[in-house]
């Protein structure tokens, strides 16, 4: 297995772990962490696959996309955290209501 | 190996030894204060030795300056953070290990 494939598969794994946690964890802070892990997985797949250029330097286009992605991810995280704090102040909880149990 | 390697390699290897010693302390020491003690010593000296080794190998004064600057920053940040964590732990009443 090449280095690129290895890291791309790890990226897939991170994406799946994050997606699963996003579904099954009720706590909102944990959902925010899960979304961050998911985006890290996507970035890792992009960068690993960008390195399949053989001996020359990696493809810069995915690199540029990942850099913008990292900055967008942190601003979305900040906004999501404030939303979570507002929900916690209003309802006293850090979860959304679980409609399955009702 | 060039002559400068005979100086650089022992420095680099002993630097890594300090890191290994530090992580042994991190694993084995009984409380947060002793672990802090082990780490701040070993990491600062370890990084210092490795930086010294890399300085010997460096090919320009710019690189030497940057390496030393990084080491100074780590020293400053490490010492300050160690102080803040210790003070915080004592204020919060984390007990010290006694024999």
């Amino acid at each position: 297995m090449t280095t690129e494939t290895l890291y791309a598969l790890v990226g897939v794994g991170l994406f799946i772990l994050g997606l699963y946690a996003l579904f099954v964890r009720a706590n909102l802070l944990r959902k925010i962490l899960a979304a961050n892990v998911m985006s890290s997985g996507v970035f890792l797949v992009l960068v690993a696959l960008a390195r399949r250029t053989g001996t020359v330097a990696p493809d810069p286009v995915p690199h540029a996309m990942v850099i913008t992605g990292i900055v967008v991810a942190v601003s979305v995280t900040a906004f999501a955290l404030i939303l979570m704090l507002r929900i916690a102040m209003k309802t006293g909880q850090t979860e959304l209501p679980d409609t399955w149990s009702e | 190996m060039t002559p400068s390697d005979y100086i650089a390699v022992p420095l680099l290897v002993s630097g890594v030894m300090f890191f290994l010693a530090g992580s042994a302390g991190l694993l084995r020491f009984p409380d947060v204060y002793t672990r802090l003690h082990a780490l701040t010593k070993s990491d600062n000296v370890g990084l210092g030795l490795i930086v010294a080794g890399l300085v010997v190998e460096a090919d320009s004064w710019f690189v030497v300056g940057k390496l030393l600057f990084i080491w100074l920053l780590v020293l400053l940040a490490g010492a300050s953070v160690a102080n803040l964590i210790t003070k915080g732990a004592m204020q919060r009443g984390t007990r010290m290990w006694t024999r």
Binding site: - | G22, I70, T94
Partner: protein, 92 residues
Amino acid sequence: MQTLHFILALLLFLTLGAGLWRAVVGPTAADRMLAVQVFGTTAVTITLLFAQAFGNAALRDVALMFAVLAAVTAVAFVRRAWSEVGVDDDSE
């Protein structure tokens, strides 16, 4: 020499495992933060060794960044999550 640098970096990478273990088991929040601090210093060192091994001078800038930003996170921990209102500590 390239191989030697890489193997030394690999050894340092193994010491990260010790830091990770401490970050996971604690027992106090201070222990965890301490582990992350070590993580930062070790990452600085690994990056510097990589810079030398692969002749990539730009990696030294990454090391510089590691050195400064690890301190900012640690300060955020001490000043926010660990302020006297406090987040649960020693509870395991």
